[in-house]
């Protein structure tokens, strides 16, 4: 039996520990598969996906999955848990590019240029289970399989692109409060599509430091701003549970 992973937010010891585990059931029964990149193929031919999956792999919180400047040979789907992609500046400042949620994939962007090293790092935020595929295989056999699959592939890239451009607008032209509301709405929307939010309440395991590093702020100021939103009965974040108290007000602050 494998070791049990404990703690949402583990300490920094042994940065790259990983624990193998037997795969969960066949991909056909996967709760999150219908929201993944290869959903069309999964629907038509679930065994094809099961066959492509090399294994599943578990990580504790805050473990580095792939480091900047390495060349990934694998392709991952997050089966459970949250991850994030970030870039580190020479002096240690960190910018989180995007949070990865269950059903999201990693190494999509570099799939067409297999020999270019990553320019950012992929890390688990919570304990996380990944389904592991061979990068070349998934490209050839799943992504280019059918017209529906090509459309899903390009659609995924486009959605990712949309999140990035919206983040650029946030960082460039919105106040701290606006950015935070924007982020809450983004995450709620993405989670809702996967059945992980009822529209007003969802799990948000990111610390205020993660949020700060995502929005170009400091954790101190994130704390102050969240306190304000809480005081005004607009939004609350406690013990990794996010609650939208006043969706209209939230959207108003986010929009301008």
């Amino acid at each position: 039996m494998n070791k049990i992973i404990i703690g949402m937010r583990s300490t920094n010891v042994s940065d790259t520990v990983e624990l193998s585990c037997p795969p969960p059931g066949p991909c056909a029964n996967c709760a999150i598969g219908g929201f993944s990149l290869y959903a069309p193929t999964l629907k038509e031919n679930p065994e094809a996906i099961s066959r492509l999956r090399k294994e599943t792999r578990q990580f504790a919180a805050e473990r580095t999955i792939i480091r900047e400047n390495t060349i990934p040979t694998e392709f991952y789907t997050i089966y459970s848990g949250w991850g994030y992609i970030f870039k580190l500046l020479p002096d240690g400042r960190r910018q989180i590019i995007v949070f990865l949620l269950p059903g999201d994939t990693f190494s999509l962007w570099s799939i067409a240029s297999p020999d270019v090293p990553l320019h950012y790092t992929f890390r688990s935020l919570t304990p996380m289970t990944l389904c592991v595929f061979d990068r070349q295989e998934i490209l050839r056999q799943a992504v280019a399989a059918s017209p529906a699959q090509i459309a899903a592939f390009q659609g995924t890239m486009e959605r990712a692109h949309g999140f990035l451009t919206r983040r650029i607008v946030d960082l460039g032209r919105r106040s701290a409060k606006g950015r935070i509301c924007q982020l809450i709405l983004e995450l709620e929307g993405r989670l809702r599509k996967k059945g992980l939010s009822d529209g007003s309440r969802f799990t948000l395991p990111a610390t205020q430091a993660h949020i700060a590093d995502t929005l170009g702020l400091t954790s101190v100021y994130v704390s102050r701003t969240l306190a304000e939103l809480r005081r005004d009965n607009i939004f609350e974040l406690q013990d990794s549970v996010a609650t939208i108290l006043d969706a209209a007000a939230l959207r108003t602050i986010a929009d301008e």
Copy 2:
């Protein structure tokens, strides 16, 4: 004969004026074609591209090509001049997402979802000549034609994605000076690949207001920061000509 377009930076009269012009020579001879999205097809079968091109179209500076919330039916390659893509906030603040240079294309990102309206606006920065294609045609016949073409397509998307993530890092975690140096290096690099920079001197037609709207700053502060770089003999921008005086220093400031 058509009207002649005058002035790099025209006034705001008649925001959507456009002037037709006879197409320049066949695509096979195009100076910029080798750097475009469909370069592989152009090399193998230049007539295919010529046939796909509906027309060329000229715009004066600061004209809106496609507005936010509309559904584009055309696909453009910039034959000459600069353009930019931006998003407007309700109160009039503007965030420029990216500058488009000769050989760059537009509506790439929305090519897979033909019925989703744009969430940003495409505008000319200088007088600009576009080669116009049908959006569906270019997707089917050029982008999906050959393996080399698919690779070029995905490679283009990846490069664009790289620019966006780097911009996010800049906006989130870099000082005004760092952002400006970063932008100079990005533009120089992109232009050099197209033979439009010798490594230290190139045309940069953006005003300080454009730069400010790209980097999340105000034009006043861009002016002050450029003055500093000029004073320190690192970089100079005068009359739309950018000159890198000290590349090493520029890179140092940009990197951290």
